[in-house]
């Protein structure tokens, strides 16, 4: 389901607090996060260092740790926080409407 560039990604309750899930759309993959304050964020799904799904990683506060090399990003801004990641993650706008999580990819 889409409208005005927003794509329905998942239900808000599909993601545990301080966790992440994978969302695939067309030929792209994304990571959708729920913080420990139940705020939602979205980034590209692959780590910028090597092509591994961040959704298999560990969310700690506002950081996501890649499961392969333990590089870290601030998923709220996309900023690279720990080697071996050097390049920032692309982030995307997210909104929670009546328990439905939408992300704007374009």
């Amino acid at each position: 389901m889409t409208y005005e560039g927003w794509i329905a990604a998942c239900d808000a309750e599909d993601i545990d607090e301080e966790d992440v899930i994978r969302f695939d759309y067309e030929d792209r993959t994304f990571a959708i996060y729920r913080s420990d304050k139940s705020e939602y964020y979205a980034t590209d799904g692959y780590c910028t260092h090597e092509k591994f799904h961040l959704s298999d990683g560990l969310v700690m506060g506002k950081h996501i740790e890649c499961p392969k090399h333990n590089g870290r990003f601030d998923y709220t801004t996309g900023e690279a926080k720990r080697a071996p990641v050097c390049n920032a993650l692309q982030t995307y706008p997210v909104k929670n409407e009546a328990g439905q999580i939408w992300i704007k990819i374009s």
């Binding site: 298999d56 560990l58 700690m60 890649c66 499961p67 392969k68 090399h69 333990n70 080697a83 050097c86």
Partner: protein, 362 residues
């Protein structure tokens, strides 16, 4: 199962094997991982400060006690076992703390990981930033010839290198030489393969600090007219590296090269609690490679969670080393010789890699 390549191969990162691995689909590939429910995985990945703080305090207290023994035994034959103990307590935990803090999993608090990483890197004489990137490549392309900079021995084995490593006489001088080059802003060709340009400045400054400490230790030796200062800092990395080599040899040697399943190229070994403390549970090496975000203190639980999907662990370090040296002796005449470990009935089949998958499809 695939046959192993029997040609004499170029293990350098700058030779043709890297390109060959790329063509074979072995570079930065997807590796087999035992399925674990997300809830369980989150529990295993959970970070804590407590275990690593406790272990670090114990380590430094034990090192200080051994140091006092070594200091007071200086000039007598008791100095030999005292310095041997000091050396093992210096080098072996430095190796494992370097490793675990490099992954950033030992402590929950980031600065604690970084502080212990920098101290342990110096103690084990590994330039901190280059080795961080070297180890990252080791995890991306584990035992992929031409890609992995941390393959301990090629096939056939080079015996004099293994013998030299009992006292770190191969890797130690190489790393010290690299540090000296870093002081002048130079990286060698292998390092350029895995260290990004953005990290070169940091690399150089770290090495300058290391070399400054070397110079202070050397100056202290001259000032006091004795080698004693160096026997407590820098040289223990050499004379205490015996256990580092033993545990290191047990990790991958004799097993497969060029596969995409850590159960084929990595060995888990049961070890006694003392060695496990010194080695920070890296004896659970299949587990560590399959799930590097699981901290050392959770590896025994991870082992329990995936052992139904893994080959039987080696029962002891001595058994693992016997297996390794038997394989190395056979590889001297037959470089293709590889240890094949059967899987339990409960395990998923081995995934050898893209070539095996293509062959199976044919």
């Amino acid at each position: 199962m695939p046959t192993q390549d029997i040609r004499k191969r170029d293990y350098s990162l700058t030779g043709p094997e890297g390109e060959r691995a790329q063509q074979r689909g072995l570079v930065a590939a997807q590796w087999y991982a035992t399925p674990i429910p997300r809830t369980k995985m989150k529990e295993l990945m959970k970070r804590k400060d407590g275990p690593a703080i406790r272990d670090t305090i114990i380590w430094f207290c034990a090192l200080a006690a051994a140091g006092v023994l070594a200091y007071w035994s200086w000039g007598s034959w008791w100095a030999v076992p005292a310095f041997a103990l000091y050396g093992v307590l210096y080098a072996s935990p430095a190796d494992s703390r370097w490793h675990e803090c490099g992954h950033g999993t030992a402590f929950k608090t980031a600065w604690m990981n970084e502080a212990v990483y920098q101290i342990a890197s110096f103690m084990i004489l590994r330039p901190a930033t280059p080795w961080r990137w070297s180890h990252s490549r080791h995890h991306t392309d584990t035992i992929i010839v031409g890609r992995d900079p941390e393959i301990v021995s090629p096939r056939p084995p080079v015996w004099h290198v293994i013998a030299m490593e009992f006292f770190k006489l191969y890797g130690g001088p190489r790393d010290v030489w690299r540090m000296l080059m870093h002081c002048f802003g130079k990286l060698d060709a292998e390092e350029k393969e895995y260290i990004p340009a953005s990290e070169v400045r940091k690399t150089c400054w770290e090495s300058r600090v290391y070399v400054l400490i070397f110079l202070i230790v050397i100056a202290a030796c001259f000032y006091y007219g004795t080698i004693k200062p160096a026997m407590f800092i820098v040289l223990p990395s050499f004379f205490g590296s015996f256990l580092v080599l033993m545990t290191g040899l047990s990790q991958h040697l004799g097993l497969y090269e060029d596969v995409l399943d850590h159960r084929l190229n990595t060995r888990t070994t049961y070890m006694n609690p003392i060695v496990r403390f010194l080695y920070w549970n890296m004896n659970y090496h299949i587990e560590h490679h399959m799930f590097p975000m699981v901290p050392y203190h959770a590896l025994p639980k991870l082992h329990e969670a995936i052992k139904h999907d893994c080959p039987e662990p080696s029962p002891s370090l001595s058994a693992a080393l016997k297996e390794v040296f038997t394989a190395l002796v056979r590889q001297r005449k037959d470089p293709s010789y590889t240890i094949v470990k059967p899987l339990p009935d409960t395990a998923a089949p081995y995934e050898y890699g893209p070539e095996a998958a293509a062959a199976a499809a044919d």
